[in-house]
């Protein structure tokens, strides 16, 4: 918000004393997207009073966290710009003028290149636009920035994104340039940027630029036998005929469930027969029961898959 008054609270007039210490926001490293509201309708925020705030943040990135409460670190950005439209005024014939409240819209724009310019990631970005999302800013100093609505609050929420303005597209390589993904969106017009607060890397206990997002994973599930399932697990990367396999999963990463009887199935073994292809041994189930396999591997967000039992 740039054209509206953010606060009329007391003390009422602008006192101009210097802070004892100023922590400036450095150049943006990347953003961490978060759904604006969680499943209960509450605003997703970080409890900054927690003595383990740094670990709390790391834990909320894991794919085991419900999707609407999870934090989604994005790739590093380059060439970020923060243009702002002019504040609009109405000028009367007398020459008297006043702000109308229009204008002052902040546009975040940047490019992604090298590994961050993959088609797979562009497809991930195209998921934005359905749900209201906010974002935290990670600056190059490793600090974590968000919005605190009240001075006495312990809750830091993300900056609201105007998701209707979100745009991402491919920039093709030229003779003297590399391919890129161009990203832009507006900050919600009524967001109060002056309410920005920081969690420093000292308070986090680590440099926030070290945070990494999960990789989307997919699986195809087949019932080989009444007692054996095959789960082929892969990411959206790779070549057209050579998928990027997710390798090295173990028994503890798989959860098998009988959806028809609403009961857990205890898998007794998992063998990776070829890279990314896992044979899971389970007790025989009633034929045609729907069996669901979930995978929770660190660094991945793998979609569940179901199959009819033999």
């Amino acid at each position: 918000m740039a054209t509206n008054i953010c606060s009329c609270a007391s003390p009422m007039f602008p006192n101009g004393g210097d802070p004892r210490c100023l922590i400036e926001m450095a150049t943006i490293a990347f953003i961490v997207i978060v759904p604006t509201l969680d499943d209960t309708g509450a605003v997703n925020s970080i409890d900054v009073s927690s003595p383990t705030v740094g670990q709390d943040i790391k834990d909320r990135i894991l794919a085991t966290i419900p999707v609407n409460s999870r934090l989604y670190p994005q790739p590093r950005v380059e060439n970020a710009t923060f243009d702002r439209t002019d504040t609009e005024y109405e000028t009367l014939p007398s020459g008297n003028k006043a702000k109308t409240g229009a204008g002052g819209v902040r546009t975040f724009a940047w490019s992604l290149w090298k590994k961050q310019s993959s088609n797979m990631y562009l497809r991930e970005l195209e998921k934005l636009g359905c749900t209201d999302v906010s974002f935290f800013i990670i600056d190059q100093n490793g600090n974590w920035w968000g919005i605190k609505d009240e001075l006495t609050s312990n809750l830091l929420r993300g900056y609201k994104m105007d998701v209707e303005t979100f745009d991402a597209y491919r920039e093709y390589a030229l003779d003297n340039t590399r391919q890129k993904i161009m990203v832009s969106f507006d900050l919600d017009k009524y967001e109060c940027e002056s309410n920005s607060y920081v969690i420093t890397k000292d308070e986090l206990g680590y440099d926030a630029t070290t945070l990494r997002g999960n990789l989307s994973g997919y699986q195809t599930l087949t019932a080989l036998l009444s007692t054996e399932l095959q789960s082929v697990v892969f990411t959206g990367n790779g070549t057209a005929n050579d998928r990027d396999d997710i390798e090295g999963l173990v028994l503890a990463d798989f959860t098998v469930y009988n959806v028809t009887t609403d009961s857990a199935i205890v898998a007794s073994g998992v063998v990776e027969t070829v890279p990314g292809s896992y044979t899971i041994t389970i007790p025989a189930q009633t034929a045609s029961d729907v069996i669901r396999v979930s995978i929770s591997a660190s660094g991945y967000d793998v979609a569940d898959s179901t199959v009819a039992a033999l």
Partner: protein, 68 residues
């Protein structure tokens, strides 16, 4: 034929028809190799068990023509 029961195991014939014999053996490392090979052969029509074979009707002898 969608399912094939050999011993305690019920095999998915559709899957067995979609892979090579060696792939089937490799994908089922916890199963006895001979049984997997048998299942693959049966699912792919390479081996027909006697009890599964269709019984042919006995041939009738043709009467020679102009037999006197």
């Amino acid at each position: 034929m969608n399912k094939l029961k050999l011993g305690d195991n019920e095999y998915n014939c559709k899957w067995l028809r979609s892979v090579s014999e060696e792939q089937a053996v490799r994908t089922l490392p916890m199963k006895e190799v001979g049984q997997v090979r048998n299942a693959w052969k049966q699912a792919n029509g390479k081996s027909v068990r006697n009890h599964n074979a269709e019984k042919e009707a006995p041939k009738r002898k043709r009467k020679p023509k102009n037999e006197e």
